[in-house]
């Protein structure tokens, strides 16, 4: 197992390098650039633009820019935003708690809801409840996140005026838990509903598979009560898909939900990325992409390892 993990980790290095090359190439091929912001400055001259280009290192040949970036990045110097001028690392750390707060809430809420719903619908397959839940999960799966967000804003924010329209807290108020929660409800619900659909479907399918397996039939043949079977055997085996979900959700926690953050004005990583993308602020884009890609790879590795640990049928070569 240790060798397997090591091999996977070693393999991920060229993967990450490849990603960074591709992303860098795309970014640099983009017309326009961070200096567009200066256009509206009265009195700016071409000389100013050229000087700024030089001071940001944008006038260097591409491979040089890339190697410079890479060399610094791996030694922990993630560079400075071309627009905000702050260290990229501190800009990310500034947003990270906000994204973790939102996505963590969603993550916990979805798990708490998905496990019982997934189990019940699997056990009571083809019951009325199963049909209703399956239909609902299908509906949420098929809803564009941004539309759901807009609908929630229209109904609960604009019409009923029950909940705030955006942001993390009422400006100017000292910390107030109730206020924080009220701001959290709409964005968290938006993401949670869409995610819940996918999670429930996945859990239900995995449970069904387990229920149909031989040893379950054996258990049934032994005359164990159905509820006991579900709890003792099926749920234990459902731990596998559960762990998979958790592991694959790790990057999600960091990446956040860009569109939802955008709609609700949530100051998270997603908005940081979006703002950077529209301004071609590439040090931020490169860093966020590198970290999130690394997390995706890590999440997959954890999922695979956990899988092997939980399911003795799988052996790693």
């Amino acid at each position: 197992m240790g060798r397997y993990v090591l091999r996977r980790l070693v393999q991920s290095v060229p993967l990450l390098l490849g990603i960074s090359v591709i992303v860098f190439a795309i970014l640099k091929a983009v017309p326009g650039g961070p200096l567009a912001l200066y256009e509206s400055t009265p009195g700016i001259t071409d000389e100013d633009i050229r000087r700024l280009e030089h001071s940001f290192g944008l006038d260097q040949p591409l491979p040089v820019q890339y190697v410079t970036w890479l060399g610094k990045f791996v030694t922990g110097d993630w560079g400075y935003s071309l627009v905000q001028h702050q260290p990229v690392l501190s800009l990310i750390l500034e947003r990270l708690p906000n994204t973790l707060y939102l996505m963590g809430t969603v993550f916990v809420a979805v798990l708490i809801l998905a496990i019982p719903i997934g189990t019940i619908t699997a056990v009571r397959q083809y019951s009325l409840l199963d049909h209703a839940v399956t239909g609902a999960t299908f509906a949420f799966l098929s809803t564009p996140t941004f539309w759901l967000g807009l609908l929630l804003i229209i109904v609960f924010g604009l019409d009923l005026r029950w909940l705030p329209l955006g942001g993390m807290a009422t400006a100017g108020l000292p910390f107030d838990l109730g206020d924080r929660i009220r701001h959290l409800i709409l964005p968290a619900t938006t993401i949670a509903l869409v995610q819940l659909g996918a999670r429930v479907r996945y859990l239900r399918a995995s449970m069904l598979e387990t229920i149909g397996l031989d040893y379950m039939r054996t258990a049934r043949a032994k005359g164990l009560a159905e509820s006991a079977i579900v709890i003792r055997h099926a749920l234990k085996n459902a731990a596998i898909p559960l762990v998979t979900i958790i592991a694959l959700d790790i990057p999600e926690l960091f990446i956040g939900a860009l569109v939802t953050e955008q709609i609700f004005g949530w100051p998270g990583i997603g908005r940081l990325f979006w703002d950077a993308a529209t301004r071609t602020d590439y040090p931020i884009l490169m860093a966020v992409l590198a970290v999130s890609s690394a997390l995706v790879i890590l999440g997959n590795l954890i999922a695979d390892v956990a899988y092997g640990y939980l399911d003795p049928r799988i052996r790693y070569a």
Binding site: P144, L150, R199, I255
Partner: protein, 301 residues
């Protein structure tokens, strides 16, 4: 996103007999949600195609005297910020959104099949290189990649958007096809074909591809739903289809500015995305049940 990728379960490779497709058809016919989905899509397709005949309004030219009229008999879904009939625009937008979804998946399936086929059939270093590339693209969070490509291709044509969306979703197909090929190519009938002296291309086209068709069809169907959402997300962010060409996504982007004054401009386009996507998902689900015998075993219990 990762979760949704997981939900698209991969059916195992199964060698199919002659009656297999007939059986699958029978099973599909028994899947009521899928049939309903087909009906809705057919209806939508009809309206989308027939809109020039059905609607007296122009989808693009502004009518400045009729801005933001709420839904009425003349305008069943109201008018938008330029006084254009929303229903008409939604149907024209449906042409764009549906076509982009379909074509993007066509790109994805083509690329994915070619890559998966090559990797699975030849194996060795070809396989390694191609599959590492798949891993690579998979490892970049798809929305981030979508935005980056959107930024790169921004302001470009509908064709470029189709390409972007297609390039984001070929990997699943590639993995699927490769897995199918790996398991199929050692089978007797391939061996037999090889003994007779059949060449690579012939083996692939005559024997391997037809046997991989079922999972490709399922992925493709569900992929269309995903691509429609992706297109609308991209357009919603302002990186997709550009006005005045309506698409469901850019109509929603427009609506965000007016959702208080004219909430209908936000409600209806989104509803159509939802209906289209949910219908296609139902069809995809039905197809999976029909084409994946594992489901059959379970149902027969």
């Amino acid at each position: 996103m990762a979760g949704q990728a997981v939900a698209v379960a991969v059916p195992p490779a199964v060698e199919r007999q002659r009656g297999q497709w007939r059986l699958a058809f029978e099973r599909f016919r028994a899947h009521r949600p899928a049939l309903a989905g087909i009906a809705v899509i057919a209806l939508l397709a009809f309206f989308v195609v027939a809109v020039p005949v059905l609607s007296p309004y122009d989808a693009e030219s502004p009518k400045l005297l009729e801005i933001f009229e709420p839904p009425s008999l003349a305008h069943p879904m109201g008018t938008d910020s330029l006084g254009r009939d929303l229903a008409t625009r939604i149907l024209y937008g449906g042409r764009v959104s549906l076509a982009v979804g379909l074509l993007a998946v066509a790109v994805a399936i083509t690329v994915g099949t070619l890559v998966g086929m090559t990797a699975g059939f030849y194996g060795g270093w070809v396989d390694t290189v191609l599959m590492r590339t798949v891993d690579l693209v998979y490892s970049i969070p798809s929305l981030f990649l979508l935005i980056l490509l959107g930024v790169y291709f921004r302001g470009l044509s509908v064709a470029a958007i189709i390409l972007v969306l297609g390039l984001l979703r070929w990997m699943t197909t590639a993995r699927l096809v490769r897995a199918q090929f790996l398991s199929l190519k050692e089978r007797e009938f391939v061996e037999a074909a090889r003994c007779v002296g059949a060449r690579d291309l012939r083996i692939i086209v005559r024997h391997l591809l037809p046997n991989s068709l079922a999972p490709i069809i399922v992925t493709a169907t569900l992929g269309v739903a995903g691509a429609i959402i992706a297109e609308s997300t991209l357009s919603f962010l302002g990186l997709g289809i550009q006005p005045p060409t309506p698409s469901w996504g850019n109509m929603l982007m427009d609506a965000t500015q007016d959702m208080e004054m004219a909430p209908w401009t936000a409600i209806f386009p989104g509803f159509f995305i939802f209906v289209a996507v949910v219908s296609i998902n139902f069809v995809g689900d039905g197809l999976r049940d029909a084409l994946d015998p594992r489901h059959v075993v379970r149902k027969e219990q």
